[in-house]
Amino acid sequence: MQTVKMVVTGPFSAGKTEFIRSVSEIDVVATERKISSDSERAVKQATTVAMDFGRITVDEDLVLYLFGTPGQKRFDFMWEILSEGMLGFIVMVDSTRPETFREARSILETFRAYAPTPYVVAANKQDVDDAWEMEDMRHALRLDNKVKLLPCVATDKNTVKNVLLELLYSILAEMENTEK
């Protein structure tokens, strides 16, 4: 049995667990704990403190695991561990919370430094009125035009599928490019 791994990362409460939950064939194994800080509690009641993972069985020989990283900075020691051997990664950003964009940029740069694997950025909550426009987010997140920034609603399976597919297309394209 072969297993491959993709990592879903992003700031606290960006929607990583929801994202994985939308496509995982097993209940997402999430280690959620009551939140301690007041500012974090205002956003959500529990958060992922270790990591969560979902599974998609491809066939009897191949399984894809989706790993969600803990969002808070105090758990960033886990990021390098999780990034080891990943096929690619997804950075989730909440389009309605510009206060998290700086952190998202920082996480993105950190993961890029860990591993030169392909990645895409998913702009979550694009269905909400307060969401920033994609083009503004691209500039705020300092994303090159070549980096895929994809609209996403973490609870909507179709947009989640699209994000995963776009990442896989990027991985395939990288493989073909390095062949040349």
Binding site: P98, L168, L172
Partner: protein
């Protein structure tokens, strides 16, 4: 959709950078603790600015730049209240009192100074209004934002924020391929030029810092400014593990065709969900 937020999360410099890169047209409204600033942009260039209730009529601006005496200003304020800025400008040019360049230079200096004052604002809410334009009777300018962005970035002092912006010094820098960016027009400091001279995909930021004899903090601040001004971007240094090698180690197969086949199987599976 909204381009709005809090200055604690987005500095004025970062907003200028966004407006510059997106070639935005409209008005940045910033509600500070004491007054409201409105800065107008056309195609990503500074066009006009108004802070609070400050008098920014042409006569006032020209007086401030020593183009009009106090007596002349008073006369205009008393007797030309019905004359718009555009009309006043034409009258002054046609009378040979000053040139069009004099007027535009004074306005550019005034608007630039207004934006500089905003760099000190750290509290407040901002929003970008696409449809709000400067009053029709006012004279607008077209000012590139890069130098203002560099100036603003120099003022960023908070170590934590800089560390967030540039988390790893093991990355390299390269010049952006953005059309329109012109380094010759930039007012870079000696230290900034020194860093620029070392920029090469083979050199990590840490190596540049060592070569330029700069601390990590100084280096982060300069790199942050160059990034904000759209001059450089962060990349993995040349010679690091290739994507192919990494992907190979990630995938549990060695053969390239098998790797591609594996990814294609994943694609087929995801499509079927």
């Amino acid at each position: 959709m909204a381009l709005r937020g809090n200055l604690r999360d987005f500095t004025v410099t970062q907003l200028l950078n966004l407006i510059n890169l997106a070639h935005k047209t409209g008005t940045l409204v910033i509600e500070g603790p004491n007054e409201i600033a409105k800065v107008f942009f056309r195609d990503g260039k500074l066009s006009y600015a108004q802070i609070g209730q400050e008098d920014n009529h042409l006569a006032f601006v020209l007086h401030k730049s020593n183009r009009l005496t106090t007596g002349q200003l008073r006369a205009i304020q008393l007797r030309a209240t019905h004359v718009s800025d555009k009309e006043l400008g034409l009258l002054l040019i046609n009378s040979g009192h000053m040139s069009q360049d004099d007027i535009l230079t004074a306005l550019q200096a005034y608007f630039t100074d207004s934006v500089r004052r905003l760099f000190t604002w750290v509290e407040g809410f901002f929003r970008f209004e696409n449809d709000m334009m400067p009053p029709e009777d006012r004279i607008t300018v077209r000012l590139d934002l890069e130098n203002l962005i560099i100036e603003g970035a120099r003022q960023l002092r908070e170590f934590e924020q800089l560390q967030d912006e540039i988390p790893s010094l093991d990355m390299a820098l390269r010049f952006t391929e953005r059309p329109g960016s012109n380094m010759q027009k930039m007012n870079l400091s000696v230290e900034e030029w020194r860093v620029v001279s070392y920029i090469n995909p083979k050199n990590t930021i840490q190596q540049i810092a060592s070569a330029a004899k700069m601390s990590d903090m100084e280096m982060r601040r300069i790199v942050y400014g160059l990034i904000q001004a759209g001059l450089v971007e962060v990349m993995r240094p040349d010679g690091s593990t290739s994507v192919q090698e990494k992907a190979r180690s990630a995938a549990p197969v060695q053969n390239r065709e098998e790797q591609k086949s594996l990814v294609n199987r994943l694609i087929t599976r995801i499509r079927s969900i």
